[in-house]
Every structure is written in structure tokens, then in C-alpha cells.
């Protein structure tokens, strides 16, 4: 057992004070760094810990609120749901169906206030989407005229963090998201919709923005947090 390990008396006292918990913050932090690399020091800390730990027997258990386990499970076990994709989660789609009606009303209001120009009807079909999310202040409106094949975006609130980019995705039905590229810093921006995605710009599609590393996701799939999303709707 580690009690046979000997270290110099100053370190021995630091190990004991660390285990007892009385070491002041600065000394505690520097000792913690040493524990990682110094095996003898580490085993003396472990020895003191093993001696003191029974003092905690007198502490009465206290039931923790159920929310702690819920948060833990969602925090620890969401890695698979990230792999499966938030775009496949029921919560995402439920949130969108609530947002969709509100989206139309807001988009109508934006036209009225000239926040975005009303779509020029060239005989094509016109689609709009309003993107927002609970976890960020990012708000965008988008419209698409299927004769011009251009998606016009206006960001009304929110900016990308330093060294991060906003990436725009289109999700058609149950397909995986397809990138429409990284948003420039301009508040108004037009993107050409590639031919293979033009059919997807129907009422069934959803536009979404994620937080991605500088230059966009390297994997071709969203990797960062979902910041804003909204269904595409024909008007």
C-alpha cells in the first residue's frame, strides 16, 4: 500500500492538507497539477483520503431533486442523439410546427415594414421561411423565388462568435441536412440554390442555421449547435 511511500515532509503536509481540504485555492490548484505527474505525491494524497473518508459516514444522505438526473442523462447520453442528428428528433419537428404559423405572420409583417423587399413575382412560386431558435438570438428571414433559383436571406438579429461561422442547411423531408454554405457577415445575402436542391425548396423543407467552425462544418453534416430553424412555406 502507498503508506510505504515517503515524500519530503513539506509535501507530506501539503498532501494531508489537500485531502483534508484546507489548502487555500492557489496552493490547491498548484498541488493538483503536481498530483497529475508525481506518483509518490499522488499516492500520499490517496493514503490521506482513504484515512479521512470515513469521517463522511456521519453525513446524512439528502435526496437530490429529480432534475439533476434528468440533466445528467441528457448531457451524458445525447452524444448518440447528436450522431443520429437533431433533425431526426421529435422535439425539433414539434418546435417547428408551433413556429410555422407565427413565422408566416412575422414574415408578412416584415414585408409590410420593408425589412425585406417583397418578392418579385416573375411567374414563379414564392416561398418564405423565418428561422429562429430557443437557444440563440439569431433571427433570419428567407425567401425563394423558384424562377430566379435564388434564396435571399436577411439576418435581423444575431452575430457569429469570433472564429465561428453560421452555416445554412436545407432539410428536405426525412433527408439529412445539405449545406447551402456559410453565411457571410452581410446582413442581406443571396445564395444560388444548386439545381439538385431546387426541388427541395418546397413547402416540405426546413432551413436551419448551425454554429460551425470557421469556414463551416468539415464533415458535411452539422457538427455544432442548432441556432435557428424554420419551415419553408409557399405564399
Amino acid at each position: 500500500m502507498s503508506s510505504q511511500v515517503t515524500i519530503d515532509e513539506k509535501d507530506e503536509m501539503l498532501a494531508a492538507e489537500y485531502a483534508l481540504g484546507t489548502l487555500p485555492h492557489g496552493e490547491r490548484v498548484s498541488l493538483e497539477k503536481r498530483i497529475v505527474t508525481e506518483a509518490d505525491l499522488r499516492s500520499r494524497v490517496a493514503w490521506w483520503n482513504s484515512q479521512f473518508v470515513t469521517l463522511a459516514d456521519e453525513v446524512e444522505p439528502v435526496e437530490a431533486p429529480a432534475s439533476v438526473l434528468r440533466k445528467l442523462e441528457s448531457r451524458l447520453f445525447t452524444s448518440t442523439s447528436t450522431e443520429a442528428g437533431w433533425w431526426r428528433s421529435l422535439g425539433f419537428w414539434r418546435g417547428l410546427s408551433v413556429a410555422s404559423l407565427a413565422g408566416l405572420i412575422v414574415v408578412g409583417g416584415l414585408y409590410a415594414n420593408n425589412v425585406i423587399s417583397p418578392p418579385q413575382r416573375d411567374g414563379g412560386n414564392v416561398f418564405v421561411a423565418q428561422m429562429s431558435g430557443e437557444n440563440s438570438d439569431l433571427r433570419l428571414v428567407a425567401y425563394y423565388d423558384d424562377s430566379a433559383k435564388k434564396l435571399r436571406l436577411k439576418r435581423t438579429a444575431g452575430e457569429a462568435a469570433e472564429n465561428r461561422d453560421f452555416e445554412l442547411w436545407i432539410i428536405a423531408g426525412t433527408q439529412d441536412p445539405v449545406s447551402l454554405g456559410v453565411l457571410p457577415t452581410d446582413a442581406i445575402y443571396e445564395v444560388d440554390v444548386p439545381e439538385e436542391l431546387q426541388a427541395a425548396m418546397s413547402s416540405e423543407a426546413v432551413l436551419a442555421i448551425t454554429d460551425e467552425p470557421d469556414g463551416g462544418s468539415a464533415t458535411g453534416k452539422p457538427t455544432g449547435a442548432l441556432l435557428a430553424a424554420g419551415p419553408v412555406q409557399q405564399i
Binding site: L20, T22, Q51, T54, P61
Partner: protein, 178 residues
């Protein structure tokens, strides 16, 4: 129970989620009690408990190679985290690391070890200390008192408190190693 907890920790190392949930339900009340006693603030204790079980989940593979009983390991992880939080919360203004040399004046305890068959070794050894000093050690461990708080409680200057406590630790070690 102890074997169960050990098995559940090993299962966590294999990323068995059901085992984690079961481990949590068996052990979280004890760990929450320990953490709450130190932090004395429910919201902070809940956050701390969450962080502690994240550490347990992530470090479960290290349990096999350490020397504690399963429950002791969990308590040590929990207590360490709570102490990290409270020390960071209350950084002390005075630097008290004025290199006390206590090794020279450490004295051998003159009392015989009280050899009761019941009680744990640490309890028996604490009984060999002055009552006040034993209380200081218990207070530091169970309540998470800092040197400032101990000094205030026992109405001694902070440096005196640290010297006291270090001497107590030396006496404790002599007793514990017997």
C-alpha cells in the same frame, strides 16, 4: 451493496447507461449530502452533483486501479469537487503560505492509543488529539472549513491555526500508521 456499487462503476467504464442510472439512484443521496454540507447552498450543490457524476462516468475506468472501496471512491470524488468549488468561491485575501516548519516541533503523542475495538481508526486517532484540534480536523473535512473559517471559530490567528492543524496531522499520521 459495496460489491454492487463496484460492479456498477465497472459497468459505467463500459459505458452502460442503465448501470449509470442505477449507480446514481443508489449513491446520489449520500454524495448530495456530502456536497450540500460543504457548499451549504442547494443550487450550487445541485450543479456540483451534476459535475461529479459526469466525472464518475468519464473516470469510471480509473476506479479499478485505485485503492479505495467503491463508496469511498465516490465520496472522495464528490468531496474533492465540492472543495474545489468552495475554495475557488472564497479565495482568501491573505497569503498564509509563509513556510511553517512544523517538522521540528512535532511532538510524539504522550497518550497511549485508546484501543477501543469499536469505532474507526480515524475516530480513535482523533480522540488522541486535544478536543479542539480534533474538532478542527472534523470541521475541515465534514463542513469544508477553510483556514480563515477555522481561525475565526477557534479565535486564533490564521497562521496559528495552520500550524495547529499541521501538528495535528503529524500526530494523526503517527497514530494511523501504527
Amino acid at each position: 451493496m459495496s460489491d454492487d456499487i463496484g460492479n456498477l462503476i465497472s459497468q459505467c467504464a463500459l459505458k452502460n447507461r442503465a448501470a449509470f442510472t442505477q449507480l446514481y439512484s443508489l449513491t446520489s443521496a449520500k454524495l448530495f449530502g456530502v456536497v450540500l454540507r460543504i457548499l451549504n447552498n442547494r443550487a450550487e450543490a445541485e450543479d456540483a452533483l451534476q459535475e461529479i457524476y459526469v466525472k464518475i462516468w468519464n473516470n469510471a475506468d480509473k476506479f479499478a486501479v485505485n485503492q479505495y472501496s467503491p463508496m469511498s471512491w465516490l465520496v472522495v470524488v464528490a468531496r474533492n469537487h465540492a472543495i474545489d468549488v468552495i475554495r475557488a468561491r472564497k479565495p482568501i485575501a491573505v497569503d498564509i503560505d509563509d513556510a511553517f516548519d512544523v517538522s521540528d516541533d512535532s511532538k510524539t503523542p504522550e497518550q497511549e492509543a485508546i484501543n477501543t475495538s469499536e469505532g474507526k481508526r480515524i475516530d480513535r486517532c482523533l480522540q488522541e488529539l486535544d478536543e479542539q484540534k480534533a474538532l478542527a480536523v472534523r470541521g475541515a473535512y465534514v463542513e469544508g472549513y477553510s483556514y480563515d473559517e477555522l481561525a475565526e471559530r477557534f479565535s486564533v490567528p490564521i497562521n496559528t491555526m495552520r500550524t495547529w492543524l499541521r501538528r495535528s496531522l503529524i500526530s494523526l499520521r503517527e497514530c494511523l500508521e501504527q
